[in-house]
């Protein structure tokens, strides 16, 4: 009766190698999980954390550069006029509206208007009153959306091209989404993650570590199978001589 693969595999030498291979595979799998965690973290964490002053990044009536989009910004000025509702905006599966206001920023020669989205409210809720007087607000800078026209107290997009007709010139080409804590029915709008919550590079590394783990086990199997075949061949040789 010829010995089975298992009888070769349980020899101390190959069991020892199996232990080594499994330790290696476990380490690789752990590295894969670590990369998967990093993949989620990288997608969540904004690149730059410290807010910079608005005037360092964007001037009124000047185009917004790609670097500035999504940047945490600090601006000092005053909320003016009535809030506008940007209709048809969803948050966590609910429909509601963004609360948009004009924010007058002193520029030395006068004031320029920065469109500011203060937060999100459900369809049936009114936005709380903004703070009065000069305040410093923080949030991230976004580029203007496509113009859609404005009617009454609501708009469909946040577009400086539309808003300049309503609020007058000078105006900033982008708008600020405030990161302040929720107040009453108004909630903070989280930044959009553009790739479904995973950083591609780390996700790719995670998959590769798991493939390496499988490789380690496969190589053990190949080595033992070869040894097993040698044993069988040796048996045949002995039997025939």
């Amino acid at each position: 009766m010829s010995p089975s693969f298992l009888s070769t595999a349980v020899r101390p030498r190959w069991l020892g190698l199996l232990g080594l291979v499994l330790a290696l595979a476990t380490a690789f799998a752990a590295l894969g999980s670590w990369q998967l965690d990093r993949s989620r973290d990288e997608a969540d964490a904004p690149g730059i954390v410290e807010p910079v002053a608005l005037r360092d990044v964007l001037q009124p009536q000047e185009p917004l550069t790609g670097d500035a989009v999504g940047r945490p910004i600090e601006a000092t000025g005053e909320f003016t006029g009535e809030p506008l509702r940007v209709e048809g905006r969803r948050l966590d599966g609910e429909t509601g509206a963004w609360v948009l206001m004009a924010f007058a920023v002193p520029t030395g020669t006068g004031t320029a208007t920065l469109p500011v989205v203060r937060g999100w409210v459900p369809d049936d809720a009114r936005a709380p009153e903004p703070p009065a007087g000069t305040v410093t607000i923080t949030g991230r800078l976004e580029s203007s959306e496509a113009p859609t026209g404005t009617t009454g107290g609501s708009v469909e997009s946040v577009s400086s091209a539309d808003l300049v007709n309503r609020w007058g010139s000078p105006i900033y080409a982008g708008f600020l989404v405030m990161d302040s804590a929720p107040a009453g029915p108004m909630r903070t709008i989280p930044p959009v993650t553009d790739d479904g919550g995973f950083a591609l590079l780390n996700l790719s590394y995670a998959l590769q570590w798991w493939i390496f783990a499988a490789f380690a086990v496969f190589i053990w199997w190949r080595v033992v199978r070869d040894a097993h075949r040698h044993e069988l061949a040796a048996l045949v040789d002995n039997g025939s001589s």
Binding site: S204, F215, F218, R222, D226, R229
Partner: protein
Amino acid sequence: MTTSARKTRPIRPGLTRYRVMAYVTGAFLLLLCLEMLLKYVFNGGEAVLGDWIAITHGWIYVIYLVTVVDLWSSLRWPFARLAVLVLAGVVPVLSFVAERRVTREALDGEAERQGRGTTLTA
């Protein structure tokens, strides 16, 4: 079934696959080193040429490993040599050096098996 251990399969197709991947992996590794240098030394951690280099290098390395394991098992080389070839794919320039040695020894081995007893010079 019992005699299959004695059969040798032709090594050339596997050798060619390995050689191609050794060059591609080596070239991408050099490109990756350049990107790392630009990214971390000159650009404060922001990608310069793009993350695609690291992603592509990773998958090319996986394919390289497949060709290495295939060649190693068809030549019945010792375990240590597999370890060297696995490392050769992640140490800059080493894959080019390893490729020359592997090719020479594989062809030598083939010549011996065919009973010609002659050694080919690389």
